[in-house]
């Protein structure tokens, strides 16, 4: 066995250029597989990450999954009641202090209460419809992805005294307003209050930049004439994957609907499964092509060694030695190539990660190629290369070893 090993080493070292070609061939296959996998996986992960980042992980809203039992149902022993106009009682999450307190103890993350209402922002004769969201600046900063999207000011600026508002930059544009401008906010109930713009944000999502406006929770309650009321609690969890569990628990506790981000984006996540299949197919195909290239390079080398196999056989080496010899050579080349391929893949990923883009016509701006740095990609690519290289060494060697050495010897003279 040691002899076979040493012979393999001598073969590999003795054929410098060929060895180099083989290693480069394997390295290219491995490197590009890694880079492609990183890019595909990165795109996927980035998409989910952005989703998870922008939406609340769990959103508690003032609705019930089952419509509340109506008095009519108690009054009449009917099987089903239809066409009934239910009692108007959507008044938000009642007793928010108690509700928040009941979550505080166990929630693995942060929460922020808010009151969302519709209104119009008015400035210099221009009216722009807006979702007026009343927030607690400190709590909101810990929950909302908006906190890092501020161009000017911040949530904290809301609390700086007076009636303050922060709006999206597109909204400001439409109004012709800017930081420091005093605007009027007209609520759904008809109240008008003056506010001063103390912050501008830019999320990149046009719909939000155009129509969201944040004020203090108290201001929103006054505007909508719903004192001490909230209609939404947004949760940001330490681990977004737990959102479903947390949502279920919150819903059981508060009795109002709690929606996890997975539930809210169910159809999107379903589409993602298809994307996943596409991704694995593409990466698989790349690896297959790379594997075929590796097989080609190494099996060519082994084929060229058919004469040596005949010679060794004539000297008294059994067939098994020949198979082992070239299996070792194939694996060694595959291994060396994989190592180089790892560096190549890493370098490619690094290069790709340096590429910058400016895409602002679409809603969201992507400034960098998303890349997933996963060690698993490296392992899989190397395993695949080793398999291809091993087979490429073994199969031709087995054939040459089985062949009658006389045929090869006659052919070679």
């Amino acid at each position: 066995m040691r002899l076979v090993l040493e012979m393999a080493v001598t073969h590999i070292v003795g054929r410098g250029p060929q060895t180099l070609v083989a290693i480069v061939g394997v390295a290219l296959g491995v490197g590009f597989s890694i880079a492609m996998a990183a890019l595909m996986q990165g795109t996927q992960d980035n998409f989910v990450a952005q989703l998870v980042d922008t939406v609340p992980h769990v959103q508690v809203v003032d609705q019930k999954r089952v419509p509340p039992r109506q008095p009519a149902q108690d009054a009449f022993a009917a099987v089903q009641i239809a066409g009934l106009r239910p009692r108007e009682d959507r008044r938000g999450i009642l007793n928010p202090t108690a509700a928040l307190a009941s979550l505080k103890g166990w929630l693995p993350g942060r929460m922020a209460p808010s009151l969302k209402t519709q209104g119009v922002i008015r400035f210099a004769g221009r009216d722009v419809g807006a979702a007026i969201i009343g927030v607690d600046p400190r709590a909101e900063a810990g929950v909302s992805s908006l906190a890092k999207d501020f161009r000017m000011g911040s949530f904290a600026s809301l609390a700086a005294g007076g009636s303050n508002i922060v709006v999206g930059d597109r909204m400001a544009e439409r109004l012709g307003a800017t930081l420091g401008t005093n605007v009027s906010v007209v609520s759904g109930t008809g109240l008008t209050r003056p506010f001063k713009i103390v912050g501008l944000f830019h999320t990149g999502v046009t719909a939000r930049d155009e129509s969201e406006a944040y004020v203090l929770l108290k201001s929103a309650q006054i505007l909508s004439e719903r004192p001490n009321t909230i209609n939404e609690i947004r949760l940001r969890l330490d681990n977004p994957d737990n959102a479903r569990l947390v949502a279920a628990r919150v819903e059981a506790l508060l009795g109002t609907k709690a929606v996890s981000w997975q539930e809210a984006n169910e159809s999107l996540l379903e589409a993602l499964i298809i994307q996943n299949v596409v991704m694995y197919t593409v990466v698989g195909a790349i690896m297959l092509v790379a594997g075929f290239g590796i097989f080609n390079v190494i099996s060519t080398i082994t084929h060229e060694k058919a004469r040596d196999i005949a010679i060794l056989k004539s000297l008294g080496f059994p067939e098994g030695d020949m198979r082992r010899l070239f299996l070792i050579e194939g694996l060694t080349l595959g291994f060396a190539g994989s190592l180089v391929g790892w560096s190549l893949g890493y370098a490619l990923c690094f290069a790709l990660s340096q590429v910058h883009f400016e895409v602002s016509s679409v809603g969201r701006e992507m400034t960098r190629l998303p890349l997933a740095w996963s060690f698993l990609h490296y392992v899989i690519a190397a395993a695949f290369a080793l398999l291809a290289a091993g087979v490429a060494g073994y199969l031709p060697a087995r054939r040459a070893a089985r062949a009658n050495p006389v045929d090869i010897i006659r052919g070679a003279t």
């Binding site: 054929r15 040596d308 010679i311 000297l315 008294g316 080496f317 059994p318 009658n404 010897i409 006659r410």
Partner: protein
């Protein structure tokens, strides 16, 4: 004197539409210490016979016994082991392993057999090469050697495991007269001084004349088998 090689009605045909007969019904008894020339016109089956005797090829009919062992029913592994220990083969073309030095080429069969220590193998390879006038070329690779030198390395390799039988297929075929004489002298010494059995294919009439026994082949059959 017991027979070293016993061939009975050895026949080798290649399967084809019209089967090609390489060797036809050859019966031979070869004893130890014989120095045999195999002669015959080109295409008469000399190489084919040597491949059969050297266990590189299998006969389609007939029996071959080497050192008292019937080779027919042997496994491939057993045949390989027999080749390694009992048979030394010198091809018409040197057939050295290109990536290995002269010494390594000679050491490889020894290492496979594994009867000697590393140091002993090294010494023996050096001695063999030196005895073939290659003392200054042990660390050269085949491509750095001349044709005659390569052929001598190949002979050294054939002798590496000190096999009782050496089969040589036109060992001087590609050499000039000086190298030829040298190689012939080596083969002759092996029989006379070391007690080996040598079977050599040759076209050289003078050379054949100086050997103990001449087997003549025509169309795969033995037409004459004369002893000096």
């Amino acid at each position: 004197m017991t027979a070293l090689i016993e061939a009975a009605e050895l026949t080798r045909t290649l399967p084809a539409m019209v089967p090609v007969t390489l060797v036809q019904g050859v019966s031979l008894t070869i004893h130890a210490r014989e120095f045999i020339a195999v002669t015959g016109p080109s295409g008469s089956g000399k190489s084919s016979l040597l491949y059969l005797l050297g266990l590189l090829d299998r006969p389609t009919a007939g029996d071959l016994t080497i050192a008292g062992e019937a080779t027919g029913p042997m496994t491939e592994r057993a045949r390989a082991a027999l080749r390694l220990a009992m048979l030394g083969f010198v091809f018409q073309f040197h057939f050295l392993l290109p990536e290995f030095t002269a010494r390594e080429n000679v050491e490889i069969p020894m290492r496979k057999l594994g009867h000697l220590t590393q140091a002993q193998m090294r010494e023996r390879a050096g001695d063999l090469l030196a005895s073939l006038d290659l003392g200054g070329h042990v660390d050269k690779r085949p491509e750095q050697l001349s044709g005659g030198q390569r052929q001598r390395v190949a002979i050294a390799r054939a002798l590496a495991n000190d096999p009782p039988i050496v089969l040589a297929d036109e060992p001087t075929g590609s050499l000039d007269s000086r190298s030829s004489a040298q190689v012939f002298a080596i083969l002759s010494d092996m029989v006379r001084k070391r007690g080996k059995t040598v079977l050599a294919v040759t076209h050289d009439v003078d050379m054949a004349a100086r050997m103990d026994r001449r087997i003549h082949l025509v169309d795969g059959r033995v037409t004459s088998d004369e002893r000096a």
